[in-house]
């Protein structure tokens, strides 16, 4: 029973991950990443942390990937033209590297943890109270710094993405048409 559920989540995650990296339409890639993240959230639940699963769906798929879709629609990103990259050296080289690295990691993890007996899940260790205690007592400083980081990110993103004000603005950057001499 658990095996079926795991196989379902893992299979869906793998297939949609492959679609993410191979499909040429960026919107389809983003939606496949949504599917991968939801499958991973299911795996989080199986590993005993429903909070992280809910947070992953809420933050990652519900906010970050929506932002991706906005930018894709705003910039009207077209389908990628890959007539030159398929079967090129980079493609094959990257494929071999990824396979070798995957093989090394899989061998490493399998040999190290194949027969690790995991203790049964202690409901107290991963409950709401313990998560709250960790966040606000043990890891209070990183928590506050994350708040600061998000503030910095908001300010930075809104400054970087704003339109240049006018031609006389000293901070404005001139637009260079493709191929024109500077």
């Amino acid at each position: 029973m658990l095996l079926t559920v795991f196989a379902l989540f893992a299979g869906v995650a793998l297939v949609s991950a492959i679609v993410v990296v191979l499909h040429r339409n960026p919107v389809v890639s983003t939606m496949s990443l949504v599917v991968t993240l939801v499958a991973t959230a299911g795996l989080f639940i199986m590993l005993g942390s429903p909070f992280l699963a809910a947070l992953q769906i809420l933050l990652y798929t519900g906010a970050i990937l929506v932002l991706f879709l906005f930018v894709i629609m705003l910039l009207n990103v077209q389908r990628e033209r890959t007539t030159t990259t398929r079967m090129s050296g980079m493609f094959i080289g990257a494929g071999i590297c990824a396979l070798v690295f995957a093989g090394a990691l899989v061998r490493l993890f399998w040999s190290a943890y194949a027969d690790t007996a995991v203790k049964p899940l202690d409901p107290e260790a991963f409950s709401l109270v313990s998560v709250a205690r960790d966040l606000f007592a043990t890891y209070l400083l990183p928590f506050e710094m994350i708040g600061l980081l998000l503030l910095v990110a908001v300010v930075a993103a809104s400054w970087v993405a704003k339109k240049p004000e006018s031609a006389d603005d000293p901070d404005a950057i001139e637009v260079v048409k493709q191929g024109e001499p500077r």
């Binding site: 991950a17 993410v20 990652y60 960790d134 809104s158 970087v160």
Partner: protein
């Protein structure tokens, strides 16, 4: 209970798929998506380890990693918008001059 090694194996395969995508794609958005895939694989590894040791520190790490990924996505996409405004392309093969 599923043997914990399977979660780690799955995470490493996802990571390598993401790495392959980050190396191969031409569109900046697609590279960014592959990076998010790698981050997700790392999060899965962390949660698996947290389960092995029964220690919630792994889950806290994932919590902070999610927040950092959100911040990074915001700034990164702002950068994409700015780059597109200047060079009218997201193709990383064309963005090969280290000036505006």
């Amino acid at each position: 209970m599923i043997p914990i090694a399977w979660y780690l194996v799955l995470a490493s395969v996802l990571f390598c798929i993401g790495a392959f995508g980050a190396l191969t794609r031409r569109s900046g958005i697609a590279i960014f998506l592959s990076i998010e895939l790698m981050l997700n694989a790392a999060n899965l590894t962390l949660v698996a380890y947290s389960r092995i040791h029964g220690d919630s520190a792994g889950q806290m790490f994932v919590f902070f990693a999610l927040a950092v990924a959100a911040a990074e996505a915001a700034v990164g996409l702002g950068l994409f918008i700015s780059i597109y405004r200047l060079r009218h392309t997201i193709d990383v093969n064309r963005l090969n001059r280290l000036r505006w």
